[in-house]
Every structure is written in structure tokens, then in C-alpha cells.
């Protein structure tokens, strides 16, 4: 007869499931939030908040690109320390690059253009870096280990309960339905 609480492997499975669940609770939440964020990358930028507004610095009365960049910075009252460089990318487009990916882009003849500012989405940027493994290196192996544990949690979770709510009872129908869901999408025309 099995000891109270079920066979040994059954109790071990429950303990492991519980403790892995505690250990990876925050990481699982981060990955889930990041997953939703990057799923909708076609509709928004999950990493950066980019704001853009019109500017008019007046015509740039010089052919010297360094001077042109200084004129733009001065006329927009920007901090010269945040300037990274400049580039004359087209006859009607002169860009001054700012910290964090921002830029001023103007038509040298008219002085009209846009000022773009870029800000990392706090929290989400870092969650995406972990989830999409931008860190590379050792994090790759941590993420691999996490994936293995998730596999265990998925399979081990099937055997957490016995009786009519367990896998042998109604549980199998939920598993079947959950299996058919992605298959249905894959087979759909």
C-alpha cells in the first residue's frame, strides 16, 4: 500500500512542481509579459517609446556640415553634449544624431523637419532583453535550463492530481482540447 499522500514519486513531483514554480514565478511573469509585447510588434514598438514633432530651425546658411549641425543644436537649444554626429543623407535631408537614438532631421534649404526622441520602455525593455536573449553568453544556458524546467512543469503537471479531476478523469479532455487548439490553427487554410 502506498504511504499517505500517494506514492513517493507522486509526492516528489508535487514538491518539485511547487518549488520550481516558486523559483521561476517572476521569470515566468516577465517572459509572459514580454511575449504579449513582442507578439504585437507589428502594431507597436515593444522596446522603445519614440516621439516625434515638427521643428523649424530656419534655412541653414552654410555648406560646412559641422557648422550646420551646430546651428541646428543652437537654434533648438539642445545640449551639445548629447550630439553624437551628423549626416547629410540626401539633398533635402540633413540629420543630427542625438543620444539614445534620437535625431533632428531637417531640409537644409527650408530648415523644416522633425525632432525625434527615443526612450527605452522601462521594465519592458529589460524583460524583452531576457526573453529574446539579447544578452547572449551565460544567459543562453540559464534560459535553456528554464525551458527544460518548463517542459518538466508541463509534463509533471499532468500527474499532479488523481481521480476524476486528474489526467485519467476530465483532465484528459482538457489536454486533448489544448492539443487540438494549435493543431487547428496550423491546419486552417
Amino acid at each position: 500500500m502506498a504511504p499517505e499522500g500517494g506514492p513517493r514519486w507522486f509526492r516528489l513531483n508535487r514538491s518539485l512542481h511547487r518549488d520550481f514554480g516558486y523559483f521561476f514565478a517572476v521569470l515566468t511573469a516577465l517572459y509572459a509579459v514580454s511575449g504579449i509585447a513582442v507578439n504585437h510588434v507589428d502594431d507597436w514598438n515593444p522596446n522603445y517609446a519614440i516621439s516625434s514633432g515638427p521643428v523649424d530651425v530656419g534655412a541653414l546658411d552654410t555648406d560646412d556640415l559641422n557648422v550646420a549641425a551646430e546651428q541646428i543644436v543652437a537654434r533648438l537649444h539642445l545640449d551639445p553634449a548629447e550630439v553624437r554626429g551628423h549626416h547629410h543623407s540626401a539633398p533635402t535631408q540633413f540629420k543630427v544624431f542625438l543620444d539614445e537614438g534620437g535625431e533632428v532631421s531637417v531640409d537644409p534649404a527650408s530648415g523644416r523637419g522633425t525632432l525625434k526622441r527615443v526612450q527605452k520602455r522601462a521594465g519592458l525593455f529589460q524583460a524583452n532583453a531576457l526573453h529574446l536573449n539579447r544578452l547572449k553568453g551565460v544567459w543562453t544556458y540559464v534560459a535553456d535550463a528554464y525551458a527544460v524546467v518548463l517542459l518538466y512543469l508541463a509534463v509533471g503537471g499532468l500527474f499532479m492530481l488523481k481521480g476524476k479531476t486528474g489526467l485519467g478523469g476530465r483532465g484528459k479532455w482538457f489536454v486533448l482540447a489544448g492539443t487540438l487548439l494549435p493543431i487547428g490553427f496550423l491546419l486552417a487554410p
Binding site: T28, S34, G35, R84, G85, G101
Partner: protein, 175 residues
């Protein structure tokens, strides 16, 4: 939550898979004989830079058939970066109004938007891509959407595009 996590981690596993390196016969023959590049200062992306000498971007654009399929090293200021996925950057040429797009596989290399305005030393394989009018229009609309700009309807549609299929890069503040 568990199901969602599994779905997201497996979705990412696909994008994080390493991309097989494209090697043409000419490249395979040329690369081992080339002396290695000296270590470069800056942040390394992908496989970094292995070729010792840079090819001027103006030379590539002036004779695309010659460089098509060749592995080259180019250098210049980063003038634009894919803001959503970090999957490409535009590198300024040595002559006015010239640039070349360095394109990487999504997830293999992620170029941060902060690279804009910095100096890139990049290595990859030159590809000339023929474009149908539909392709060209779709590309223009996609780029406008990515950059948050209106679609330019005034300029004629290009019939081809030149890309540098990126293997690696080193990006630093200054030349």
C-alpha cells in the same frame, strides 16, 4: 500562465536559432587566405569582423555585379536602425548621399537604436535583390511604417536593392 510561457519561449527559440553562414565559393577560397583583422575597439555583434581591409561603399555601389555574392568589410556612420527589431542598420558611404543596408536575421543579431550616429565596422555578403514593382512598393511602405514616416509617393520605385547580409559588426562612438 504556464501555457503562455511555453508558447512564448518556443516562439523565441525559433528566432534565436543560429543562422547558417552564407559562403560563396569565392568567399570560401578567399577568406582562409586573408590575414585576420586586428582587434577592433567597440561593441562586437554577431561574429564580429574578420576581414582586415574595408571596401569603400562607393566602390561596391559603382560595380555591384563584381561584388554581388562577395564577403566584404565596410565602415561608416550608422544613419538609421530598425527601430522595432534591430534587424538592420543603414551605414553611410564614403561619398555624399550614399548608404548601404546591413541586414541581419531577426534575433541573431540585434542592433540597438542607440547605434545611430555611431561608427560601424561591419562584415557581410553583398546581395543584389531584383524587385518587382509590387516588391518595391511593399518595401517602401514597410520602411515608412517602420520609421513612422509617410510613404514617399514622389520618387520612382527602385528596380533593385543592394543589401549586406550581415555576419558581424563592431560599433563604437567614433571612427
Amino acid at each position: 500562465m504556464l501555457v503562455l510561457s511555453l508558447a512564448t519561449i518556443f516562439a523565441c527559440a525559433e528566432s534565436a536559432a543560429p543562422t547558417p553562414e552564407v559562403a560563396t565559393p569565392a568567399q570560401a577560397a578567399a577568406t582562409p587566405a586573408s590575414p585576420a583583422a586586428a582587434p577592433l575597439e567597440g561593441t562586437v555583434y554577431g561574429t564580429g569582423v574578420t576581414l582586415p581591409g574595408a571596401t569603400p561603399l562607393s566602390a561596391i555601389l559603382a560595380d555591384i555585379p563584381r561584388y554581388d555574392g562577395q564577403r566584404v568589410r565596410v565602415e561608416g556612420t550608422v544613419t538609421e536602425v530598425c527601430a522595432k527589431r534591430g534587424c538592420w542598420m543603414e551605414i553611410a558611404g564614403d561619398q555624399a548621399f550614399q548608404s548601404l543596408r546591413f541586414k541581419v536575421e531577426d534575433g541573431v543579431i540585434t542592433i540597438p537604436i542607440e547605434a545611430k550616429g555611431r561608427y560601424a565596422v561591419a562584415e557581410g555578403t553583398v546581395h543584389k535583390i531584383e524587385l518587382t514593382p509590387e516588391d518595391a512598393q511593399a518595401m517602401r511602405e514597410h520602411e515608412a511604417e517602420e520609421q513612422g514616416k509617410p510613404v514617399d509617393t514622389t520618387a520612382p520605385l527602385p528596380t533593385f536593392a543592394v543589401r549586406l547580409a550581415g555576419a558581424g559588426a563592431v560599433i563604437r562612438d567614433r571612427k
